[in-house]
Point group: D4
Chain length 250, copies 8
Amino acid sequence: MEPRLVREMLERVRTGELAVEEALDALRGLPFRDLGVATVDHHRALRQGVPEVIFGEGKTPEQIALIAGEISGAGQNVLVTRVDAAKGAAVSALVPAFRYVPLARTGSIEVAPLPKRAAGAVAVVTAGTSDLPVAEEAIETLRAVGLEAKRLYDVGVAGLHRFLHRVEELRKASAVIVVAGMEGALPSVVGGLVAAPVVAVPTSVGYGAALGGFTALFGMLTSCASGVAVVNIDSGFGAAMVVHRMLPKE
Amino acid sequence: MEPRLVREMLERVRTGELAVEEALDALRGLPFRDLGVATVDHHRALRQGVPEVIFGEGKTPEQIALIAGEISGAGQNVLVTRVDAAKGAAVSALVPAFRYVPLARTGSIEVAPLPKRAAGAVAVVTAGTSDLPVAEEAIETLRAVGLEAKRLYDVGVAGLHRFLHRVEELRKASAVIVVAGMEGALPSVVGGLVAAPVVAVPTSVGYGAALGGFTALFGMLTSCASGVAVVNIDSGFGAAMVVHRMLPKE
Amino acid sequence: MEPRLVREMLERVRTGELAVEEALDALRGLPFRDLGVATVDHHRALRQGVPEVIFGEGKTPEQIALIAGEISGAGQNVLVTRVDAAKGAAVSALVPAFRYVPLARTGSIEVAPLPKRAAGAVAVVTAGTSDLPVAEEAIETLRAVGLEAKRLYDVGVAGLHRFLHRVEELRKASAVIVVAGMEGALPSVVGGLVAAPVVAVPTSVGYGAALGGFTALFGMLTSCASGVAVVNIDSGFGAAMVVHRMLPKE
Amino acid sequence: MEPRLVREMLERVRTGELAVEEALDALRGLPFRDLGVATVDHHRALRQGVPEVIFGEGKTPEQIALIAGEISGAGQNVLVTRVDAAKGAAVSALVPAFRYVPLARTGSIEVAPLPKRAAGAVAVVTAGTSDLPVAEEAIETLRAVGLEAKRLYDVGVAGLHRFLHRVEELRKASAVIVVAGMEGALPSVVGGLVAAPVVAVPTSVGYGAALGGFTALFGMLTSCASGVAVVNIDSGFGAAMVVHRMLPKE
Amino acid sequence: MEPRLVREMLERVRTGELAVEEALDALRGLPFRDLGVATVDHHRALRQGVPEVIFGEGKTPEQIALIAGEISGAGQNVLVTRVDAAKGAAVSALVPAFRYVPLARTGSIEVAPLPKRAAGAVAVVTAGTSDLPVAEEAIETLRAVGLEAKRLYDVGVAGLHRFLHRVEELRKASAVIVVAGMEGALPSVVGGLVAAPVVAVPTSVGYGAALGGFTALFGMLTSCASGVAVVNIDSGFGAAMVVHRMLPKE
Amino acid sequence: MEPRLVREMLERVRTGELAVEEALDALRGLPFRDLGVATVDHHRALRQGVPEVIFGEGKTPEQIALIAGEISGAGQNVLVTRVDAAKGAAVSALVPAFRYVPLARTGSIEVAPLPKRAAGAVAVVTAGTSDLPVAEEAIETLRAVGLEAKRLYDVGVAGLHRFLHRVEELRKASAVIVVAGMEGALPSVVGGLVAAPVVAVPTSVGYGAALGGFTALFGMLTSCASGVAVVNIDSGFGAAMVVHRMLPKE
Amino acid sequence: MEPRLVREMLERVRTGELAVEEALDALRGLPFRDLGVATVDHHRALRQGVPEVIFGEGKTPEQIALIAGEISGAGQNVLVTRVDAAKGAAVSALVPAFRYVPLARTGSIEVAPLPKRAAGAVAVVTAGTSDLPVAEEAIETLRAVGLEAKRLYDVGVAGLHRFLHRVEELRKASAVIVVAGMEGALPSVVGGLVAAPVVAVPTSVGYGAALGGFTALFGMLTSCASGVAVVNIDSGFGAAMVVHRMLPKE
Amino acid sequence: MEPRLVREMLERVRTGELAVEEALDALRGLPFRDLGVATVDHHRALRQGVPEVIFGEGKTPEQIALIAGEISGAGQNVLVTRVDAAKGAAVSALVPAFRYVPLARTGSIEVAPLPKRAAGAVAVVTAGTSDLPVAEEAIETLRAVGLEAKRLYDVGVAGLHRFLHRVEELRKASAVIVVAGMEGALPSVVGGLVAAPVVAVPTSVGYGAALGGFTALFGMLTSCASGVAVVNIDSGFGAAMVVHRMLPKE
């Protein structure tokens, strides 16, 4: 991997600039920092163009603070997802720079300027009001990777006039993130009307046969509109990252 | 139950016209005929206004012929559902009057005139061409209970123009049967546009996450359009019977 | 859609009464109001003859109050479903006109007279006492759309005498809503005895193999009584809306 | 285990009638015969009062013939279940004494007289005609353990009159086996009407939401009639064996 | 139903002792009492030889007190199952005669002597200590129907010595209730060693692949020991009622 | 929708060039053709830049030939997916221009030149040899929308050397389609190494706990590599369409 | 079983040293102690070389203290698993010697020296920080059976550099326990790189399609790396016990 | 990875023995051979001590022959699993050296001597005769990695005498593979009696609630005997590979 770097190092070994053992160390001295409970990867930003993102569930506030401190201390922005209100407050108490967004259940530390990208705004559409937290998680993530969002909320297919009214706005978007629970029909309708990339996020909104989001998930995967990309249930973060990969990085 | 009949019998017992043991027998001599492998109910037509319907799966052609003969011999029409082509041919060989409809996988014996009903045509809508067999089963059943059908096929939501084009036709229907597989989004859109009864039939069309029709089933049950009635997967028969109950009987 | 209106508008364009740009605006000026977190559809009542209904789960009391205020401010009645006691109290504090019904977990604001309908009372039957909340949600919804209910509670099939005792009452109903958990056998028995429309509501009553209502749901979908319409688990609201669509609107 | 036998053996060791090593061998010389592909247990009849039963699925005709020969050669009757027609013919060709019953998909070799039992007939009830194969498997098994059966077929709850008509017959039975697919409601109704033991057998009859018999299985497990014993899907054999354990052995 | 009573009544109608309308009323005047939220069946004891049992989940303390009062007021014993500690205390406050058993999560009111039955003790076996609450629910139910229990706790198959040690006790039982969670293997071993009826109760003990009791349930249904009757997960009550039906009533 | 066209039409109505009824007809005369069994949408190509694609399952060869003929007769290319060998032969017999590709189970009729796109080749990676049919379906679809593919087959993560060896090739791709069954781990590894869009296709390769592809599906949806887009099981077509939406259209 | 002991006893019976009844008692007097709620097996350590382990879920603190006291009173070490913080505190209050480890949710009483084993350290690897509690449960169990652990935490496959960096450490381990949630891909990669035994523990880390650990479980069972042993979800204990069985006991 | 090799190569670069570009090539020239449809890994034997194993499902006979030829041509043994009889014959026709074993559904080409290992025989135990194919697949795989097997067939727990009779044989085994379908109880009993490693293989034997092997799988994962390692359903191959990793390689 990274043969250019290897080639340079080998050249320096050949010319004697670099001792064999040093070269071996360098090959081993990969850009990780072992914190005991976590192994932080300082080069992911280089490899993928994104900040390190911390999955907040199942971690204590102390663990989050430790990992986030390691990253931000190296000059990189941090995004933490799936942080409930209590944990958000606890991390904020430990790390004053932690900006917690309750609706999105995310927090961030921004020590570097956010990236600037040329791509137009990403439309973030929800079928209902109860889908907002997932949509806002997507928008916070888009922000972290330098993309703007355009909100179109509560435009589900049962009120088709409501939806058709805003099709023009959808057609202008560089990509569309569609957030819907229950039967998850909205991406099929959106996918049939726009040619741009469509990323569908099933949500756990609904009860009974909604199966905690699996009905929407399966519905989106079998959408009769072709070319709809799907991510995990309630994963606004995942949808934003799919869009991040798709759009030009600068 | 049927207190009028009981009252009349009691009157006749009181007046001595009817002996106690005879009354007891009469109460027991209910209108059933035990054929060994089946118990035929000649009075269901009276009670529910429908012919006896035979579920063809898991029955041999000989059993179907025996039961159908018993019913038609009593002057009632018979409908047999879920009869594959081989079984249809076998029953036809045994019962020449058996009219087999391959696309609907149904057969019938009509010895009495079909009922006449005042209700307007029932719209039978499919999302795709692969949903036809289920739709045709519904239409054969509607016919058996005296209702006409209007076909609107292959108008799924991914091509919304295709669908909106025919909304006026939908709005004229006395009821709408919506047949759809995959994500089953069509009933949500239909339910949002028409005020008439909407009966949704999930089909087993699709693969993988379509779950053999369960994704459509669950999607229809959690439809964001309110008041959508749902029946079993691939049950065109069931949908037609729901409509039969809803519409005026004459 | 709505070709009569389009034709009139086109006539006015032709005669010069209406400027092209104005016509275009009118076509766009659909009867929605975008509240940021929700898009309220003031014309649904016209299209479907029902008030806007708010799904209370996953919404904050503030969001409910905002949306309900927008609707009732426009002179329309509001029904909110799946509101637990704490949220009900919070909305009541924000909106004094909010009438909360704890047993049904619904709330409503009634600023217009309830509709009057000619249809006879709808029988609402439960298999057990634990099914009451779902039955009461159905009854509150029936009320909102102008229909009366007749309660027949705790008449499950294990005590068949108890049930047969009340068949005559069932036979008089314009429609029957059957609410049952556990094995969900009651709609099969009811469906076999009455010719009226039967809408089955599975409930999450029961444990273990009751699967949180799915056993009742699947049992109802495969009922050996034909023509039983099924709605989502615990959805008294959904059942009432199916009945609303079926019965004459005036 | 079997302390009486151990005590006798110990007595004989004490008196010197039996050498220690012989006693050890005897303790080891258990009544098994290792056939390579199977280990036949000649004493199960003693321990449980039933013949060895061979589960036919997944065994070759040669394996069935080998095992059945070992058992019948020792003078015991053999019952083989779940043998399809082709395998039944193949075993019959190898073992002329093999009596194959196509409807029940069972075969048997009877080299000893069937047991005689005092218990009254067991009622075997089916909801529909398609449930017959499972009911007949139960009846063949009852026969093998010395019990008589009374058939009541096709008396499902959707035609309640049909069912109530025969309640008296049910009430006379020493036990009731109820065989039903689809929603599996029949055991709830039977259980509510009779005080005798009720064993419910779900069948894989039905489609879609019938889930290949799991809906009936779960429905029976959550029956609102208390005290219904349940066995595996399509296991007429299992139901008969439950009854065998319940009823007096002589 | 109950032809003897009908015959007597008919005789009295014939002799003029009973007016037709009175007979009709009598036929309708079935022994139910409609409490609004519940319909109490005072004759179930006659029909099935058991007291009315109230399923405590999903009912308020007030509803339980009302129903239990109606039953005990008529001189019948009451058993209430699945009552957690808080609800148990609340009912006790309303009904002083309510005897709450925390470990079994049951309560009872005993206003009549418990039945006396000749059958020997029923062995109640658990695989582990965590299965106790379910076993105790079974034992409370056995008590209510006049049967004694013999406890054999924590004798799972992983410690086979522990289990074999007690086989003689099992063999003396009139029936065996086996309570086990996790993989539910114990009934297979018990069923292979005793000839008496075996009723298996899966419990929700375990985590992950234990599936909240479904693994034990399915394991018991497919037990390689034949004739094992199975009831719902955690249903000690159900198992006791199966045993109640099996054993002589006096 | 399409306000530019509506504006032009309105202008022509205003100037009298177009009669009101003609305008109304034009608004209705949408570009559909109703074939009875299907409704062909000739403008989808315009709206989404793709040919009409026919889902071959559940359609007869005659239906496929009819629909494909309608489309190709209008000068558009046709792609048919999920066509097994027998059906492929049948369609070929009816439509000589039908080019059937057995490995991909697709067929096509190409009457217009394939589109030319500037985007670089799309890497199509499989974990094993058994995943080939799905990969080839993706490649046939990419071809239909004007994209080239680079095959990297059988490079699963259990042989990581095999995989790392080809990372450079992956990094050059404009997008990566990863096709994997069993545990579906490959997209996580790919997603961690490349910054380009990654579309994961679960396949039904594997047995037992592979759950017919659902294990791979769920694994991909919960991939620890962020931004992986997922499509339905075995849907090489779906993955190619996601890529089609992402990449520049010219 | 244990024929050597039986032989000795038989010898003593033969020589008259042991009376028949005494021998019978001895055969029955197996090394169990019945505590009412539990049956403690003091010989398991002899049979399997491990201490008695108490499954803490579903047991009261009093029951745990009673059982643990019985075992430790006999001089054996005790390990209690799945003890949450509240229960841990309650047991500690009852049994001062109880050492509770919050992160591992385990407690222990060590009255005998821990075993010493020659095997090298076991590598315990986690995919993420949220998997720590399961890993620590494994490590506490390894300690109890005399094995050392080497922690390698947060080295998931999405950051492959991070993982490859530590492969040499893995290759030195006597066995590898791999703990991973979400898609559970790590064991496939580990299994492909090391020849030592690999035991995979799925964790319930993740949401939505992670299915509470079942996605990881199924993924590990279908791992493309052959020879990966799998244990129950979140069962660090189970994994350690598999390793215990594999490695030399001394 | 493989730092010793890298170090040697670096030394040779330093000394000028190896040119930089040659070193780079060597690093790239990994021991793979790309066959188009497969990438063969000739060094896996070195890394893991096992031959390349081909998963036969989903591959054509031609693909199997091609891959097997590549491997055996390099002097390595080949094992192919899950090859049905027809495919086995087809491969044998293409590759005469292919030795097909019908009962195990495996085939092999042995061009090198099988490894010799010091470990004692592995006990392969089945619960029933229908489990034989899976057991034989395990035995063929054990043979390929140099291990001997001891068969103990048809010793399920329902006939405990049959099983206890052979415990001594189990206790002598170096490891035990337990193959069982239905409820999968056998590993719990085995695991409680022996201290050696126990690997459990669930099989798809059984019907209905056996869930195609998942009931056995889940039962084994939640076994009350600790330290049971589990592999995929029907994966005799997987179990043998777990044992291969555990036991000394020479």
